[in-house]
């Protein structure tokens, strides 16, 4: 299988770097979820070898509705690199993406490493700061169609993220209102409670799931807690802002 892992990793690596759509890997290859995570790890290794470096991880499928829709009973995760960071207030070029979408999120900055199963209180104790955030997801698969194994192999669709001002984690984040606007008009309205009922549970899950893959969440890393609403398709010229109750907002634009 290791040859196939290398081959599949090269396919998603090329698709990510060149922003090209590919057909579902699962159409021609049969691989397990565990093998999908190995494809993801390998493809990110290729990116690191090309000069990128790790800055954190992202959680996906963090709502029960999404898990049911995808026919899975756990979340998924992906790896964040420095090249995926879009400056708050910055601009992206849509030609660097296949068919990007954006979703409102909350980000954690870790002050201590996290590894293995732990309680939400233990996870919370490792949080240095929290911030309003957005994730740009961009499945490299044609028509955004994939199995759970496909999407995990493709770095769980992660392709970009925006982080707003870091805030001290001294407030209750269980039920923060979130409003994502396109060109000043609300397109998605939700609450941080949509993330597993409480976004701190997502951080605990992040520690458990990465440990299953032999990884530790490092101090200084960013963890994206998961989408709080459905994702919205991006288009040329759109300006995007996510405001989170009590935390402030972050924004970016898509170049014309």
């Amino acid at each position: 299988m290791s040859k196939n892992i290398d081959k599949l990793a090269k396919i998603v690596f090329d698709a990510q770097i060149n922003a090209t759509a590919i057909s579902q890997l699962s159409e021609t290859e049969s691989f397990t979820l565990e093998e999908a995570y190995r494809v993801q790890a390998k493809s990110i290794d290729m990116r690191l070898a090309a000069g990128e470096h790790r800055v954190g991880m992202k959680m996906g499928f963090t709502s029960r509705a999404k898990m049911v829709q995808m026919g899975v009973d756990d979340m998924i995760w992906g790896r964040l690199t420095n090249l995926m960071l879009v400056e708050d207030g910055g601009e992206i070029d849509i030609s660097n993406y296949v068919h990007p979408r954006v979703e409102p999120e909350i980000a954690y900055l870790l002050k201590a490493p996290l590894s293995g199963p732990l309680s939400t209180v233990e996870a919370w104790n490792a949080v240095e700061a929290i911030a309003p955030a957005m994730e740009i997801i961009d499945s490299r698969y044609e028509n955004f169609k994939f199995t759970v194994e496909d999407v995990v192999a493709d770095n769980s669709s992660s392709s970009g993220f925006i982080i707003g001002p870091w805030c001290k984690p001294d407030s209750d984040i269980a039920n923060l209102g979130m409003v994502m606007e396109f060109e000043g008009r609300a397109v998605q309205i939700g609450s941080s409670a949509a993330i597993l009922g409480h976004p701190a549970r997502s951080l605990a899950a992040a520690s458990r799931m990465t440990a299953e893959d032999g990884e530790t969440l490092e101090a200084g890393w960013i963890v994206l807690a998961g989408g709080a609403t459905a994702a919205e398709a991006l288009y040329e010229g759109v300006s995007v802002r996510n405001t989170v109750e009590g935390l402030g907002s972050c924004s970016f634009g898509v170049a014309k």
Binding site: S63, R64, N175, L176, G177, M178, V179, A186, I189, G190, S191, S192, A193, A194, G197, A228, T243, V244, E245, G246
Partner: protein
């Protein structure tokens, strides 16, 4: 439009309300697209309930989400009358069998301490008239068979109002963020509806201001003591018998309703 058809629509809806058996849509009895005719139907049944001894305690605002307005092909909210006998205490069990196809939604309710009996009230005048806010759950139900409603049906049917549950908190409106406050409705520990204040016309006070002006124009101005349910902060959820629904609104606390098996 003839008074006869207005009366006929009102009679159909009143019979459905009294017998607990849903009726056919009433829109075909009314001039197409004439929302005022639908309010005339509503008014007949409001007068009928008042004549039967019901006590009016406030209003509910509906269709406050852009998405729901789009679904019904309208560009404004609607309202219905809240009577005292529609109020359920926080957490008390609702007799599910007395309802047709109930749904629940989470709202901020404002209670007034001043009358708003003048034309074109502004947001600041509305804010000045509010005593406090409280979290709330509206239980909506349609007397129209299978929720087969268009705008005229729901307006004629008292904006599909049936029961409501108010929290027991009295929260000053300067103590929470009406636009950004998060809302989650949970059933069995799972979020079944989430949203924020902005989902209600951008800010729930915008909805109250709309209502205040509308009520002046329609001759039933809001007055001190009135309860105003300002509109849903997230998608409505179909009720399942036996379930408990808890709504939490950030800064306002929580409120719950239970449905008997």
């Amino acid at each position: 439009m003839s008074d006869d058809t207005i009366q006929k629509a009102a009679d159909l809806l009143h019979k459905a309300y009294r017998t607990g058996k849903a009726c056919e849509p009433v829109r075909d009895l009314l001039p197409e697209g004439d929302v005022d005719a639908a309010y005339a139907v509503q008014e007949i049944n409001t007068e009928r309930r008042l004549a039967n001894g019901a006590r009016m305690v406030g209003r509910k605002i509906g269709l406050t989400s852009k998405l729901v307005q789009k679904q019904l092909g309208v560009d404004r909210p609607d309202f219905g009358i809240l009577f005292a006998d529609m109020s359920m205490p926080d957490g008390e069990e609702v007799e599910t069998s007395s309802l047709l196809a109930p749904r629940v939604e989470a709202e901020i309710t404002y209670v007034l301490e001043k009358d708003i009996n003048f034309e074109k009230p502004t947001n600041s005048e509305v804010i000045d008239a509010i005593a406090y806010a409280t979290p709330s759950i509206e239980i909506v139900d349609s007397r129209i068979k299978d929720w087969n409603i268009k705008i005229q049906d729901t307006v004629a049917d008292n904006a599909s109002a049936v029961l409501y549950v108010l929290g027991n908190q009295k929260i000053k409106i300067e103590n929470f963020d009406g636009r950004m406050c998060g809302m989650v409705m949970e059933c069995q520990g799972e979020p079944v509806s989430v949203g924020a204040g902005a989902a209600c016309l951008g800010h729930p006070i915008n909805a109250v201001r709309w209502l205040a002006e509308e009520m002046v124009n329609r001759g039933r101005p809001l007055s001190a003591g009135d309860v105003v349910m300002s509109g849903a902060l997230g998608p409505m959820v179909g009720v399942e018998a036996g379930q408990v629904y808890e709504v939490r609104i950030n800064g306002l606390g929580s409120v719950r309703t239970a449905f008997a098996v």
